[in-house]
């Protein structure tokens, strides 16, 4: 069974704080993804990585950065949290290929005050 875990289920941070969200998968997947989910907007891709130390911007990368030092771990960093980054953050992983399913973690609900 594929397992994708996220470091926190709920986080409360202050504006301006640096925030780290961690994601770990145990299926040796090459691809890893970070999304945010907001009401009425669906899931929007922030960043993805197709290999260790490789990353590409998604649709909404502004205000975020990522790190992938090991294959199983993909971190999302909010350099200076802002209230408009309050959201549900979802990590996913998959093998490469057009018909490979993405497997999601349980999500981190982040509140920025």
């Amino acid at each position: 069974d594929v397992k994708v875990t996220q470091s926190s289920r709920y986080l409360v941070k202050r504006t301006g704080e640096k925030v780290f969200l961690e994601c770990v998968q145990d299926m040796d997947h090459e691809n890893m993804f970070w999304y945010r989910q907001d009401p009425g907007l669906g899931l929007r891709l922030i960043y993805f990585s197709y290999d260790v130390k490789m990353k590409e911007k998604g649709d909404i990368p502004e205000g975020y950065s990522v790190s992938r030092e090991k294959k199983e771990r993909f971190s999302l960093i909010l350099e200076s949290a802002s209230t408009n980054q309050t959201s549900m953050y979802l990590c996913a992983s998959s093998f490469p290929g057009t018909q490979e399913t993405q497997y999601f973690g349980p999500g981190t609900r982040l509140l920025v005050l």
Partner: protein
């Protein structure tokens, strides 16, 4: 610009009846389509998929129909059960080995007992 639209934000259906969830897309290059189901406070889970070379794919109570000329797909759930109550996302594959998905805005299905 929203490439994938799910125009019904919510749908309410009686237990035992058919649920039909719709999805429209604009990019004719999409060649593989997935549906994900999401319960509150959990990550999305893969439900069913369809390749563009097919017009129907069935898995138990779930059937997905694809109309390429209309750029429209639909998910049918028969019979609907209360446990089907969740948010459903349509997610075409964006092509390429990086396995990027474009998620729709989601439809909240409520199945009434």
């Amino acid at each position: 610009d929203q490439q994938v639209k799910q125009n019904s934000p919510s749908l309410s259906v009686q237990e035992g009846r058919i649920s039909i969830l719709n999805c429209d897309y604009t990019n004719s290059m999409f060649d593989y389509f997935l549906w994900y189901k999401k319960y509150p406070a959990e990550g999305p889970t893969f439900l069913i998929s369809i390749s563009s070379i097919k017009d129907k794919n069935e898995d138990g109570r779930f059937t997905v129909f694809l109309n390429k000329s209309a750029k429209h797909l639909s998910l049918h759930i028969v019979p609907s059960q209360p446990g089907d109550s969740a948010v459903y996302f349509c997610a075409p594959h964006n092509g390429g080995a990086t396995n990027k998905l474009i998620f729709g805005t989601g439809t909240l299905l409520a199945v009434q007992p």
